[in-house]
Symmetry: none
Subunit: 120 residues, 4 copies
């Protein structure tokens, strides 16, 4: 059990798949699991996966070949863009979190540098 993130399930799954692509678990041009398999793995209704795949296709991150399945795009520029966008989102939410903890944006680069040094 987990508390509600607010995000609809199919979008949570979109995020999961994007992360898998961007971290290399799913590679450029590779076939995604079938809608049925993915539904079984994530324990959701196949319709939900269908919707997630649809959203990913709309964003040009995957493409479907009739009768063959769904594949990660092989356009490197799209994948680069995806990576950049996800990084951007991570950074923004990180900055917001830190702001709520009382750390101003200007302090962050310094704090991180300090932690890198200490962490060594």
């Amino acid at each position: 059990m987990n508390f509600d993130s607010g995000l609809p399930i199919y979008m949570q799954i979109v995020e999961i798949i994007k992360t898998r692509i961007v971290t290399g678990i799913l590679k450029s041009g590779e076939k995604l699991p079938s809608v049925r398999d993915m539904a079984t793995e994530l324990k959701v209704n196949p319709n939900t996966i269908q919707r997630s795949y649809g959203e990913l296709e709309r964003e040009n991150i995957v493409f479907t070949q009739r009768g063959m399945g769904t594949f990660v795009t092989d356009e490197e520029s799209t994948l680069k863009g995806l990576k950049a966008t996800m990084a951007r989102e991570k950074i923004i939410s990180f900055m917001e979190d830190m702001e709520r903890l009382g750390y101003g944006r200007d302090e962050l680069p310094g704090i991180i540098e300090k932690m890198i040094v200490e962490g060594k």
Copy 2:
């Protein structure tokens, strides 16, 4: 519905309460909701909240007065420590996430600085 974070519910609740304290929603010395009220609010069993409160008490973040309730500590040093620890954790998980996206730790301060400038 939300995908399993792996963290047990009572620890998720601990995190929720820590965040409320550190962001000022719950103030130093203030009374927490009663075990029963919190259980109703979060829709879990009172025993689960009991366990969360117990964990927070072990960490000296709250204290309980028999028959009166559970209160946020008023030791400022503890609260400062909590803030620092939560910030540290946020930074570490941020650095790990970014690393998985292919950004080296040394790049991060620069990237953030760039984003701050752009964001203005």
Copy 3:
């Protein structure tokens, strides 16, 4: 039937296990009975034993290996510390008992010495 000691059951069990460790019935590194077996032996609910084991783990007196069981620590310094703490507590409660019987603390060493001589 026995009159209430005031100590909760799970803490009474903690004391029982500590005594077993310190007197050598349970040895360093040895496996404790499973939660279920201990519950059967002591005729309490498994949850209560779970809580006792949890408390012992927090005190670093035992550690658990997932799926394997709960074991007495093999850190000799911890075991020595446990022995010393239990002795200290025994001495303190002995001194308090004797004080209530009208014997001052300063008299105690003398009284004990006398009894040792007589007892021979």
Copy 4:
């Protein structure tokens, strides 16, 4: 709930009353609670209290006046003897406990003296 001490209930009650006498809660010559009241206070059957009072009478620690009740003896020598016996028992069980923890009898006076000094 408390784990079995092995001692029969009526003897546990004898010990409770002896402690009350020796610590001055019940004074020399004073009336003990009626069998019924004592039974209510300790939540046992009046017959059990009857048996405890009988045992105390056999030991000359209390005496019964028909129609009046049960009273603590006013023979000071008996009370002194009781105190000495209880102290003796406390010391013996203390020495046994410490022995089981690995402390020899000869060490005890020294250990206690050390703790008295530290405790100041």
